[in-house]
Amino acid sequence: MQRTTMDLWVGVFVMAGIGALLVLAFKIGNLGTYSTGESYVLTGSFENIGGLKVRAPVKSAGVVVGRITDIQLDTGTYDATVTMSIDQRYRFPKDTFASILTSGLLGEQYVGLAAGGDDTILEDGDRIMKTNSAMVLEEMIGRFLFDKASENKTSDE
């Protein structure tokens, strides 16, 4: 085969391959929505995080504003410390309420931020003071049954 035709085909092949990698990154993956560098970090302590995972979304009013970057157990208080990186564009007041929510009945868990009315805003590295733990179904059922049982006991007396 002629050297030039071979070069042409190899060029087409390599460019198609690199193009496929770019399609993977931007069209199929989420590199297009990645905002690198322009984010700040907030932390929050939760009594129970349920099934929350690293890189789960942080949403406010349903809009994705950031991602969970780290989850650690604080051995001082035995609470979970959740670190999240928030897009620089979105600022939240000091009395923002963070709660762990579930999208849909069987969906993934995420952190929902509900902004308060404070004038001072949260800065990089700040801690969200008001948090709400994940709802754990087993605990809820347990509490319900316990209430039911004690109700019956009081009505018996």
Binding site: V14, G17, N30
Partner: protein, 265 residues
């Protein structure tokens, strides 16, 4: 009787020593390839020639297989997911299974049978017809001139082929799920994009394909170089290339997956 027993035990020992020796020989050969690959980069034309044979000529089988694997995934995924009323997640399922597992593994298996066997047969036949010996006589190092360019061409073309496989597969899944069955177009793409993470899924998939490409071509060139210089020897070496590559790919895939995705959602 005891002499037979002794012979049996000796047979086991012989095989073990033999296979360990062969493994050591293969590792030394691999180190030699890396050591002598300077020529491949100085004379890039050699690698381009091999890229044509391993990469460009594998395109058809990779693209057609990718399309069909994606279409089947779309059909089966829809079939299962619609029982839970989650048919819009079919895009996520197709993309994740292709990017993480099926793309790298199936493309590598096809690559081993399409390009790996060809490399083994070519090098084996070169050896059988004394071409390699003739090169040595002319003070041309056959490892630098023949083996290393083929190895690097395999390492370069494998990730590109696997990426093409995955993209064509996702397109195949789109064709079946959205165009044929009628899953919503927007939720197909948006759910896929929110579920497939660039760092964890795509980069790990590409790392996998690089490892597979290196493993398959290393096996192929070694089997070719090590083949007995007869017609039988070359055919046996070609078979061993495909069988060993397939086993190594699946084994490596398990190891890499357990390291990369352990504990990931």
């Amino acid at each position: 009787m005891p002499s037979r027993l002794v012979a049996g035990v000796r047979g086991v020992g012989h095989r073990v020593i033999d296979s360990i020796w062969r493994l050591g020989y293969a590792s030394r050969f691999f180190a030699l390839i890396l050591l002598k690959s300077g020529t491949s980069f100085r004379r890039i034309g050699l690698v381009v020639r091999e890229l044509y044979f391993t990469g460009v000529l594998s395109l058809i089988i990779i693209i057609v297989s990718g399309l069909f694997v994606g279409m089947v995934l779309g059909l089966q995924g829809y079939e299962t997911l619609q029982r839970f009323g989650a048919e819009s997640a079919v895009g996520t399922m197709v993309a994740l299974s292709l990017v993480r597992e099926l793309g790298p593994v199936v493309a590598a298996l096809l690559f081993a049978s399409r390009a790996g066997s060809a490399i083994t047969a070519e090098i084996g036949l070169m050896k059988a017809t004394d071409q390699l010996a003739a090169m040595e006589m002319m003070a041309v190092d056959p490892i630098a001139r023949v083996v290393a360019p083929r190895f690097w061409a395999g390492v370069i073309s494998m990730p590109l082929l696997a990426a093409l496989f995955s993209v064509v597969g996702v397109f195949g899944g789109y064709l079946v799920a959205v165009v044929l069955i009628g899953v919503d177009d927007g939720s197909f793409w948006s759910q896929m994009q929110s579920a497939v993470d660039y760092r964890y899924d795509i980069v790990n998939g590409v790392i996998k394909t690089c490892v597979f490409g290196g493993a398959v071509t290393a096996i192929a060139v070694f089997e070719g170089y090590d083949a007995s210089p007869t017609a039988e020897g070359v055919s046996g070496a070609t078979t061993r290339t495909v069988v060993t590559s397939a086993l190594v790919i699946l084994g490596l895939d398990f190891v890499l997956t357990s390291v990369m995705f352990r504990g990931m959602g």
